[in-house]
Each structure stands twice: as C-alpha cells, then as structure tokens.
C-alpha cells in the first residue's frame, strides 16, 4: 500500500499541491483526475520521487520514502514500474533491450533468463516477436504497450501511469486500460493512474481522487462519481454533452 500524508509542493511562490492525504491500495486502480494545472502530474512525480515534496510524506508499505536518500531509495525503486505519457522508451535501444535494461542493471540473471522474461512481458502486452524493432518503428499504442512491458519486467509492486490514453484512438485507449486493469488484478499491483480520460474513469476507476486548485476535492469510486453533488467534480466529469446525456440515462 502507498500512503501520502499532507503532500504540499511549491515552485517559488506558486503552491501547486496543498496538503494532499490519501491511501492507494494493492490490486486496485487508483485514479488521480483533475483539470489541466490541477497538480495531478506534480503529485505523481512527488510520489515517485522525481520531485521532492515541500511538506508531507510518501510511505511505501510502511517505509517513509521521503526521508530516504538516493541509495536507500534504490530497493524501493526496483519495485516501481512507471509508464510515461510519451512512453519514454530509450531511442537507442531495441524493444527487447528496453525491457531487459532494468534486468541487466538490477538482477544477476543469465542472458537467456532475461530474454525469457522480456519475451514473456512482450507476450503479455500482445507484442510477441517485436523484439528487434526500435521505438521509432512503433506506433503510439505499441510504444505504450512496450512501456508497460518494461514497467512490469521487474515484477513491480507499484505501477505508476501518467496519462495512458493521451494521443491514442478510443479503441487503443480501451485496450491499454484493460491491459493495466488485468495486470493490476493479476499481480495485485498498487496502480496509480493520472488521467483526465473519462472512459478510463468510468471503466477502471476503483478508487478516484479528484484534484482541484491543488487540493483533494473529492474521493470515491466510479459508481459514486455518477451520483455526486460536488459541483466542481460534476463540471469536470460531465463537461461534454455526451457525458451529460450518459448521466441523464443513469
């Protein structure tokens, strides 16, 4: 489980996050939603240690990540997988090398064992046989899937996903969501997803946190979100005519 306590982050005079407290449970898709500039990505970066919170703590299974130095964080980091908005695959490496990269650095497995693991991960994301392609030869959806394969190569306990559906067509978006959902349930991963895609929210939102003006404005599940009377959340979720019509049908 991941616990965040009173996370505050300021950049100069700009207070982006204001005392956010939440718990993210294993085997659940924990979604962080909110409008542009609400602090979603900043919160995610504070949790994974790419930003240091100005105040507050991030606790991974009882261990205070915020108080650790670089070396102390490494054992926890080897349990973290992350899918970036633009996949962040290493351009100079093939798909196979990208997936094997963390295995090369942090395990003592033989080359054959690492290759087996890479093939297993590729099969898991339906990209069997694409080992030797370079990221520049892949479509957006394939890059996301390779990103997921790399993220799960070390069998992570925690999976962080930043805008998994950005730049993807609706069908591929659903495939990516389903894949993340399957992996989360199958391996009981604590998954934290930053998104503003309402299909994801209504499809896989086991636990949803809505950020507004840098604060945690609302917390609940996908079933609760449809019936909330929170004005800001309603304005955000049901901004489109389609979503308003869908709500009216409920």
């Amino acid at each position: 489980m991941i616990e965040i306590k009173g996370i505050t982050k300021t950049f100069g005079d700009n207070e982006v996050l204001r005392g956010i407290t939440a718990k993210f449970k294993p085997g659940k898709n924990n979604l962080i939603i909110g409008g542009s500039g609400s602090g979603k990505t900043t919160l995610l970066k504070c949790i994974v240690g790419l930003h240091e919170p100005t105040k507050g703590d991030v606790i991974f299974d009882g261990e205070n990540f915020t108080e650790m130095n670089f070396e102390q964080r490494v054992p926890i980091r080897t349990h973290i997988g992350m899918l970036f908005q633009n996949s962040a695959l290493f351009d100079s490496m093939t798909v196979e090398e990208n997936i094997m990269f963390p295995l090369n650095l942090f395990t003592n497995r033989t080359h054959a064992e690492k290759l087996d693991r890479a093939n297993f991960c590729l099969e898991r994301v339906n990209l069997k046989g694409k080992n030797k392609l370079y990221p520049s030869e892949l479509s957006g959806g394939m890059k996301k899937r390779v990103g997921i394969a790399r993220a799960i190569s070390m069998q992570p306990k925690y999976l962080f996903v930043d805008e998994p559906n950005s730049g993807l067509d609706p069908k591929t978006s659903i495939l990516i969501d389903e894949l993340i959902n399957e992996l989360t349930e199958e391996y009981q991963i604590t998954t934290v997803i930053v998104t503003h895609d309402m299909n994801s929210v209504m499809g896989i939102g086991d636990h949803i946190i809505f950020l507004h003006q840098g604060k945690k404005w609302w917390e609940g599940t996908k079933d609760e979100i449809a019936h909330t009377d929170n004005k800001e959340l309603n304005d955000f979720v049901f901004a489109s005519k389609f979503m308003r019509a869908a709500k009216a049908r409920l």
């Binding site: 240690g49 790419l50 992350m82 962040a88 650095l105």
Partner: protein
C-alpha cells in the same frame, strides 16, 4: 555564475558515484569510445592534412630568405602542429562534432522523460549517461590528437611534394631537427584536459535542458560555445605552465 559552477561540480560528483553494475557501464564506455574515437577519425584526418599542408606553405613563404635554411619550414610546421594546431584546432572541431551531439542527445533524453525513466528505475542517471562520455573523451582525444599530429606532418610533406616550395628532403630534415619530447607531452596533456572540458560541459548543458526541441538546440549551442571558450582558456594556462 557561481550557482551554475556549483551545479556543474555536483553533477560531476554524481557522475562518478559507484555504478549499479560495472559491466553495463563498461559496455557504455566502449560504445562512447567508438562513437568519439572512430566516429571522429574522418573529420580529424581531413582537417589535419589540410592544416599541416597550409602551415608548411605559409612558413615557407614567410621565411623565403637565402639566409634561412629551407629545412626550418619543417621544424616550425612540426612544432606548430604538435603544440597548437593538432590539440587545439582538433578539439574545437570535436567540440562541434562530439560536444553538440552529446548535449543534444542528453537534452533530448531529458525532454522526452527518458532521464526520469532512468531515475525511477533507481539508476544514477548522471553516472550512466555522463561518466562514460567523459571517460571516452579523456581517452580518445589524446589518440585523435596523436593521429592528427602524424597526419598534419604528413600534410606538410605532401604540400612540399606538390608545390615544390620546399624540397621534401629539406622538410623531413627540419621535422627531425631539434625535436623535443616535451612538445608531445604538452599536446597530450592538452588533449586530456580539452576532452574533459568538452564532454563535461556539453553533458552538463544537455542534462539541465528544460523545455522542448528549441531548448535542446539551445543547450547544444551553449555547450559548444562554452566549451570552446574554456578550451582556449585552458590552452593558454597549460601553455604557460608547461612551456
């Protein structure tokens, strides 16, 4: 300025932290050495031959007095090539070729979140990205400079053969006369220092890129400009200290 200097020193310290796995870093060092060394050999060969030839013709033209032995052209061309043209001009060219490539490569990795991906995995990103480049720079620059010296002197000989301003025999005699090993030591020290300056400054500029494609270009430009200025400053300091 002091803030940037502090950041640069801290980045260098992080770059030389104990590697997560030596074999992975070693492979990177080898890859960078091939890229810096073999990849730059062509351009270094071309400029060295032409500079050596041009220097010899100019020296022969300026010392065209019957009181000065013709072989002096060989001696002056040799010392100029060893002490200044090969280490300094080659390094300035390498700043453009190697330095800009390093700054833009690391800068692109920064803006496309590849460096964030490394950090999240628990990899010491400065160590993995920067130290192999610096090691490649300080090892391959001296080799390139030695090759440049040999090719520069060959270029001078070729100019003598083709132009006839100085006979090749006089030229070779001048090249042999009064040779001092110290000049080669100075050239190698310069090459090592210039290799460090160019790779570290360009890597620093790339590592702290912030923004998008425009900023990556600006980082590469800054890296080349700052490293060229520092190379010329270091050239003066080393020359003053060692000669």
């Amino acid at each position: 300025m002091f803030h940037s200097l502090g950041k640069y020193i801290l980045l260098l310290r992080l770059s030389f932290r104990k590697p997560e796995k030596f074999s992975v870093y070693w492979a990177e060092v080898m890859r960078e050495m091939v890229s810096v060394g073999v990849g730059s050999l062509g351009i270094i060969s071309i400029i060295s031959v032409f500079i050596g030839a041009a220097t010899t013709i100019q020296v022969a033209f300026q010392l065209s007095s019957p009181l000065v032995p013709r072989s002096i052209a060989g001696s002056i061309a040799r010392d100029s090539t060893i002490l200044e043209f090969s280490p300094t001009i080659s390094s300035l060219v390498l700043a453009g070729r190697v330095g800009s490539s390093m700054a833009s490569q690391i800068g692109t990795m920064r803006v496309t979140e590849q460096i964030d991906a490394l950090e999240i995995m628990g990899v010491n990103a400065p160590g993995y990205l920067i130290s192999p480049k610096i090691i490649a720079g300080v090892t391959m620059f001296p080799i390139l400079v030695i090759a440049s010296i040999a090719l520069g002197i060959f270029g001078g000989w070729l100019a003598c053969v083709l132009s006839g301003d100085v006979s090749p025999a006089d030229y070779l005699s001048g090249v042999h006369e009064g040779f001092e090993g110290l000049t080669i030591r100075v050239a190698i020290v310069k090459a090592i220092v210039f290799g460090f300056i160019i790779t570290s400054i360009c890597a620093y500029q790339g590592f702290y890129t912030n923004g998008g494609a425009l900023e990556v270009g600006q980082s590469a430009t800054k890296g080349v400009v700052y490293s060229c200025v520092m190379v010329l400053f270091a050239d003066l300091v080393i020359t003053r200290i060692m000669l």
